[in-house]
């Protein structure tokens, strides 16, 4: 066991959990109306707690136990069975690997929260998220990282472009379409009630992402440092590109826009961060800022889907974009290091990456829809009534009020 590597992954675990609570909770909370601010935070807390226990019960085992035909892990590690403190996974104790991975299964369904704010029943959140962790997240994580067929195929996903962002982004889009639009969408919506809160959450996500991508190296070495450098550069570059577009298009760069750019850059660089150098990060960030900016418009105005906090446009599109660009950017090396694509194989690697994306999109879309159908039956309709939507979920679902200043 390497104590330096272990120290780093212990900290990365804390950093990634910090991304969800309070990071993502604050980020999302600032974007909704003030009468549903607590409900969003409550969703994040509940999803975090549920996903953690399910991971312990069987999720980790399904993702990382010996593969059953490349599709799913066994149940031999259910309840962390056999993971004693001295059992290693590479240079770190397996328990450290298991809890580091636990923080990923926490944030993935929490990302989906942004799709259904201000109108979903809390019981629906509980059922949907629980089922989703087991039926969507665990298999896809197994395929890519747990010894499954996508990993065998050679798909490159450093820190979760497919596993986390594509799968969550697609689930968000499906959920938003299933649930229907908020009253007032798209013209009569209220603007974010507290953009400063959103920016603070974005800052925490940015910091936490150092653990997300840097920790995925599973060692405290130059590779982890490079992953963090690439990650950071992509975030900065995406923020500036998004702001520049707004400045040109609307005459004013907004704070919400700048930090949305940050998140778009971070989501996009995730699958790539361990395979490219800083210039790769620069390019990915710029692409993310531009592509995700226009994706927001497409979802809202063309698809007319009320994916309320733009989960698909930012995470889904960003994750897919980054996953595909790996094949191209990794050959240049761009002063980075790690596993590189041979220049002769860009085409075939791109094919492999596309297979990974398509598989995750199809699986996530299909099972999310199925889960939604069942959940809607179990909850007697996923949506709250119109009155509750107008009064806000804080009071109607949780009996509390966001602010009494």
């Amino acid at each position: 066991m390497n104590s330096g590597d272990t120290a780093w992954i212990l900290v990365a675990t804390a950093l990634v959990f910090f991304m969800t609570l309070p990071g993502l909770a604050m980020f999302y909370a600032g974007l909704v109306r003030s009468n549903s601010v607590l409900s969003v935070v409550m969703h994040c807390v509940a999803v975090a707690a549920l996903a953690s226990l399910l991971w312990l019960f069987v999720g980790y085992s399904l993702a990382f136990d010996d593969s059953v035909g490349g599709m799913i892990g066994g149940v031999g590690k259910a309840f962390f069975s056999g993971i004693t403190t001295d059992r290693l996974s590479g240079s770190i104790p397996e328990i450290v690997f298991a809890i580091f991975q636990m923080t990923f299964v926490i944030i993935t369904p929490a990302l989906i929260v942004g799709a259904y704010v201000e109108r979903i029943k809390f019981s629906g959140v509980v059922i949907l998220s629980s089922a989703w962790v087991l039926l969507v997240y665990a298999p896809i994580a197994h395929w890519v990282w747990g010894g499954g067929w996508l990993g065998d195929l050679g798909v490159m996903d450093f820190a979760g472009g497919i596993v986390v962002h594509t799968s969550a982004g697609v689930a968000a889009l499906v959920t938003a379409a299933f649930l229907g639009r908020r009253s007032g969408f798209p013209d009569q919506l209220q603007p974010p009630h507290n953009p400063g809160l959103t920016a603070m959450g974005a800052g925490m996500l940015w910091v936490g992402w150092f653990g997300f991508n840097g920790g995925s190296q599973l060692a405290a070495d130059g590779g982890a440092g490079m992953a963090i450098a690439v990650t950071h550069i992509a975030a900065a570059s995406a923020a500036l590109v998004w702001s520049a577009i707004e400045w040109i298009k609307f005459g004013k760069p907004s704070l919400v826009g700048a930090v949305t750019g940050v998140i778009a850059g971070l989501a996009t660089v995730t699958p790539t961060s361990g395979f490219v150098g800083p210039v790769g990060g620069l390019i990915l960030g710029a692409a993310a800022g531009a592509v995700c900016f226009f994706a927001v418009d497409v979802v809202k105005k063309k698809l007319k889907i009320d994916d309320s906090l733009d989960v698909f446009a930012v995470h889904g599109v960003g994750g897919i974009l980054g996953t595909l660009l790996v094949a191209v950017l990794a050959i240049h090396a761009l002063d980075g290091g790690g596993v590189l694509v041979e220049s002769g194989t860009v085409g075939s690697q791109l094919g492999v990456q596309a297979i990974g994306v398509v598989a995750a999109v199809a699986w996530s879309a299909g099972f999310t829809f199925l889960i939604l159908k069942v959940t809607a039956v179990l909850t007697g309709g996923l949506r709250v009534d119109e009155e509750a939507e107008l009064v806000g979920l804080d009071l109607t679902a949780h009996g509390e009020r966001g602010y009494d200043l």
Partner: protein, 106 residues
């Protein structure tokens, strides 16, 4: 000149404003208020204790209008602030002795 005051649900502000715009009333002052009333009786729960909360967040709107418009304005507000459910809007009219707007001064 009369002052029309109405207390409406916060989510009705937007439709009321739009409806008033349509009849040519573009000026309006809105204030966030707490409405107490008999129909309000929800509870907030904290740490195992329930707090009876007697009020609901409401919005008060005020508009100074000429006498001939009063009836129309009141009717418009009433209509636009009505939802399918229990209506909590409450409107009253009072007299205004004089008015001056920024535009009037040199």
């Amino acid at each position: 000149m009369k002052l029309v005051t109405a207390r409406i649900r916060p989510d009705r502000l937007e439709p009321v404003h739009a409806a008033l715009m349509e009849i040519g009333i573009s000026n309006l002052t809105a204030t966030e208020v707490k409405g107490f009333g008999p129909e309000v009786d929800h509870a907030e729960i904290h740490r195992g204790a329930q707090y009876q909360v007697a009020f609901m967040p409401m919005v008060k709107i005020e508009s100074v209008v000429t006498d001939d418009l009063v009836a129309q304005v009141v009717a418009t507000i009433r209509e636009a602030s009505t939802t399918g459910q229990a209506d909590r809007s409450h409107i009253w009219v009072s007299g205004v002795l004089s008015e001056e707007t920024g535009e009037a001064k040199p």
